[in-house]
């Protein structure tokens, strides 16, 4: 059978991942630091000390205010109301903003979805704050004002989340992320060794923080589904890491005299083809979601696409090399130059 099989990778690779890991670590540290800075400065836009000083309440609430500006929080996490309006003609966002400015309830965000959608209509999202117990009055008056500037308007989606619920959702989201990472640590420590667990957790923090950083820098809307995406990324990145770890465990038994660094290199190389192919199929799915999955899922798809790339990178450059940071049985071998010979000999 002569099928022109496309091989992504040469049959045998011999990349020195560990040697490169120091440079990768430097890159990762810069990126993680950048993500943190972005989260505290509203995506490099404001001065956190100033925000802190101007915020109300106790220090913790002020810190929350600083962090809150780090993201473009959706109403799930900020509270408020979201209207998705549709009209047969293109919608003038500026006119809506202008019409609502007289209502005097703080920021109104109007964001149009470009072009005619699948239903032949134009869509626009309108977000505003609805403090107090009874948002209905505000929502109704907003609807009336929008009706005057956008003829033939339909309100396709109305979502109102009270401050209490949004705070809980935010807290629960953080707990879920923390819990997921903790569970992974326990699982890996139990199935492998504690050092492996630490390596895996390193990688998970890396992936989570970089994805958060991406959302912070690009001011992408942060909603409930983004938390779902982050949890999926954690699961995916872990899956990738475990495949490398499994091979690492196998090879550690097989090549007892090879240095740990070399075994890590060998295992990563052996699983590299699989890592690439799986990442690619997963990426194909995520990109399909991004391009044709519709407006509502776009943020989710962006997070997934980015997360898959980062998760693949981290399982090669973060998780496995991080094991070297904790002393293992072997430590670093003295004879790196002769290591490939051992591999050949073992075959």
């Amino acid at each position: 059978m002569a099928w022109p099989l496309i091989k992504l990778m040469p049959e045998k690779t011999n990349f020195k991942f560990v040697r490169f890991a120091f440079f990768a670590a430097f890159l990762s540290i810069v990126a993680v630091t950048g993500s943190f800075v972005s989260m505290f400065t509203g995506g490099f836009r404001d001065n956190p000390i100033e925000v802190f000083q101007h915020a109300q309440g106790d220090p913790l609430a002020r810190l929350g205010a600083v962090m809150g500006r780090g993201f473009n929080l959706g109403i799930d996490f900020r509270g408020g109301t979201l209207l998705e309006i549709t009209a047969p003609q293109s919608i003038d966002g500026g006119a809506i903003k202008h019409a609502l400015s007289g209502l005097n309830f703080g920021d109104v965000e109007v964001q149009g979805v470009s072009g005619r959608q699948a239903d032949g209509l134009f869509h626009t999202m309108v977000q505003f704050q609805t403090p107090g117990n009874n948002p209905n009055a505000v929502i109704e008056s907003v609807k009336q004002h929008v009706q005057t500037v956008v003829p033939g308007v339909q309100f396709s989606r109305v979502e109102a989340v009270s401050g209490k619920v949004s705070e809980e959702l935010f807290g629960n989201g953080l707990i879920a992320l923390g819990l997921a990472i903790l569970l992974m640590l326990i699982y890996i420590a139990f199935r492998f060794e504690f050092q492996f667990g630490m390596g895996a957790v390193f990688a998970l923090f890396h992936d989570t923080i970089l994805t958060l950083g991406l959302f912070s820098v690009l001011r992408l809307e942060f909603t409930l589904t983004i938390i779902a995406a982050l949890l999926t990324i954690i699961g995916y990145s872990m899956n990738d890491t475990v495949v490398v770890f499994d091979r690492l465990r196998e090879n550690l038994k097989k090549y007892k005299r090879m240095s740990l660094a070399d075994v890590i290199d060998l295992s990563t190389n052996e699983t590299l083809s699989r890592t690439m192919i799986t990442s690619l199929t997963a990426l194909l799915s995520a990109i399909a979601l991004w391009t044709v999955g519709g407006e509502t899922l776009r943020g989710f798809a962006i997070a997934m696409t980015f997360g898959i790339v980062i998760g693949t990178y981290s399982s090669i450059y973060v998780a496995a090399p991080a094991i070297l940071l904790w002393h293992s049985r072997r430590g670093r071998g003295p004879n790196q130059e002769t290591a490939p010979a051992v591999v050949e000999g073992a075959r």
Binding site: M1, L5, L183, E270, T281
Partner: protein, 530 residues
């Protein structure tokens, strides 16, 4: 590995057929669905509100109001327990403030006796820990407060009771698909598919209704139904339960807060179905007086000013319990009992979250979701075929069975498909082939190391298995946390992701393995085309 026991082949075929039949209802239009024979599964997946359009409301019970009422009743109980002790224990009138009832004994020496007299109040009628904690000080001050568990329980009870009331208000005939469930202790989720205007829903839920007992005035002739005599009004029958309208006095004699329990019973003498009820202490006194004054008169039990029933008072009722006779059958009697027990909302409700999507937007979401699924499928199928050739095609077959199993499992398991759920499905397409990739890459490796075709296949499956289990378990764990965290749409995502995680392990190993074994038997290759 390469042996091919007949049971395995049969099992794979059965699984594939099962997946096909459970998935089929989702692909057929409703008209064709009606023609599926009744012994086959014919329910498609439930669609979440974000896909079919509808309203989601999260309501919260105002527990502070509830607690105030409870503390007040505790205050009365403490007072009467000490008053009724033999001999009477003298004390200051109990006061209630900040959730705590305080009283001071005139004589601190009575303290021990007082604590004994109060003991029964604390007891939990359902067994278990005490509901109230009493603390005393040497100067004779006694404080009482509900335990956190008791407050939690009563909030939960109030929520359960509110659910009954809400259901009777928005779905009196039990015909619509509204789902009303408690969340946590003091919250209620209302999901109304197809309702794109939540305002009406909220108004019906939020209106304050109270059960009242109003007298039907005697000697009043209704001359003009549109103009009832002053001080009276005409109450219509309560939808679904009541069967009569009545002219009643506007001022109720008595309100439902005094009713402690109603149940369906039968009259000892006539065997007729009746509703037996019990009143609290205040209610007993009040009802005794009213019924003595109005023996022989008719009164009406109203809910939301609509007549539940309008029985006649046959005799004075002073025992705190009585029965209502009327023309009920078992069904209407139990409905009525439910309403009587549920009465008005036990505490005010606030809408703390509201999400409404209209059906058009839902249809659009389904459309773009389907498009993403198709594009992702094509991309993955083409890629797998290019990367692994024949083996890739086997993986694709396994993927098709996998999709069938996910959709089938969700259809018969009653899981809900949401927009993020579709996203989960799309991602699963890309990630499910991972198990196949692991197996195939291992085969390639083994073959490269000079193993025979049969041995490479064997080793490929055997060695990859450990990795597959380990790596999929981690994904499954992450999906489980999503379940715990998410609600609504996100939960739908957790559904597809976790089911997909399980089924992809099954199909990639089991189905692929069988296909590979069949192929191997037929061709006996020396070399794997991989």
């Amino acid at each position: 590995m390469l042996q091919l026991p007949r049971w395995r082949v049969i099992l794979v075929i059965v699984v594939a057929i099962f997946a096909a039949f459970t998935t089929a209802p989702n692909l057929l239009p409703p008209s064709a669905r009606a023609m599926i024979p009744p012994f086959l599964p014919h329910s498609p997946m439930n669609l979440g509100l974000d896909l079919q359009g509808g309203s989601h409301l999260l309501l919260e019970i105002d527990t502070s109001g509830l607690e105030r009422g409870q503390v007040d009743s505790l205050r009365q109980q403490v007072g009467s327990a000490l008053r009724e002790a033999q001999p009477q224990i003298l004390r200051s009138a109990p006061t209630a403030a900040g959730g705590v009832v305080t009283t001071k004994l005139n004589n601190p020496a009575d303290l021990q006796r007082a604590m004994q007299a109060l003991r029964p109040i604390a007891r939990n009628p359902d067994g278990g820990d005490d509901l109230i904690t009493f603390t005393s000080q040497p100067d004779g001050t006694i404080t009482a407060r509900y335990t956190p568990v008791a407050l939690q329980q009563s909030a939960r009870r109030a929520a359960d009771q509110s659910i009954k009331v809400i259901r009777s208000r928005i779905d009196p005939n039990g015909t619509s698909e509204v789902s009303i469930v408690r969340q946590g202790d003091d919250r209620i989720v209302v999901q109304a598919p197809g309702v794109s205007d939540p305002e009406e829903l909220k108004q019906r839920i939020g209106k304050t209704a109270l059960m009242t007992f109003n007298l039907v005035p005697t000697n009043v002739q209704i001359t003009d139904p549109s103009r009832p005599p002053p001080g009276t009004f005409i109450a219509g029958p309560y939808p679904g339960v009541g069967n009569t309208a009545a002219l009643v006095e506007s001022h109720p004699q008595f309100t439902g807060e005094h009713l402690t329990r109603a149940r369906v019973s039968t009259d000892g003498q006539t065997g007729q179905i009746v509703i037996a009820f019990q009143l609290d202490a205040t209610g007993t006194r009040l009802f005794c007086r009213i019924s003595r004054e109005h023996t022989g008169d008719q009164f009406a039990i109203l809910l939301d000013n609509q007549v539940l029933t309008a029985p006649r008072i046959n005799e004075p009722i002073c025992g705190g319990s009585g029965q209502i006779s009327g023309s009920f059958d078992a069904k209407s009697a139990s409905d009525l009992v439910l309403m009587l027990n549920a009465g008005a909302l036990p505490a005010p409700l606030t809408v703390i979250e509201q999400r409404t999507v209209d059906a058009t937007l839902g249809r659009d979401a389904i459309e773009s979701g389907s498009k993403a699924t198709i594009y992702a499928s094509i991309a993955v199928v083409v890629f797998m075929a290019l990367a692994y050739g024949l083996f890739g095609l086997m993986a694709i077959l396994a993927l098709i069975v996998n999709m069938g199993m996910i959709i089938g499992a969700m259809s018969i398991g009653g899981a809900t498909l949401t927009l993020p759920g579709i996203a989960g499905l799309v991602l699963t397409i890309g990630m499910a082939v991972d198990a196949n990739v692991l197996i195939y890459e291992r085969m390639r490796e083994e073959q490269r190391h000079g193993r025979s075709a049969a041995m490479s296949i064997d080793a490929g499956f055997a060695r990859a298995m450990v990795t597959i289990i380990d790596s999929h378990l981690t994904q499954f764990l992450a999906a489980l946390i999503l379940f715990q965290f998410g609600e609504g749409p996100v939960k739908g995502f957790a559904w597809t992701l976790s089911i997909g995680c399980i089924t992809s392990v099954i199909t990639a190993t089991f189905v692929t393995q069988t296909l590979v074994a069949i192929w191997f038997r037929l061709t006996r290759p020396k070399h794997l085309p991989i």
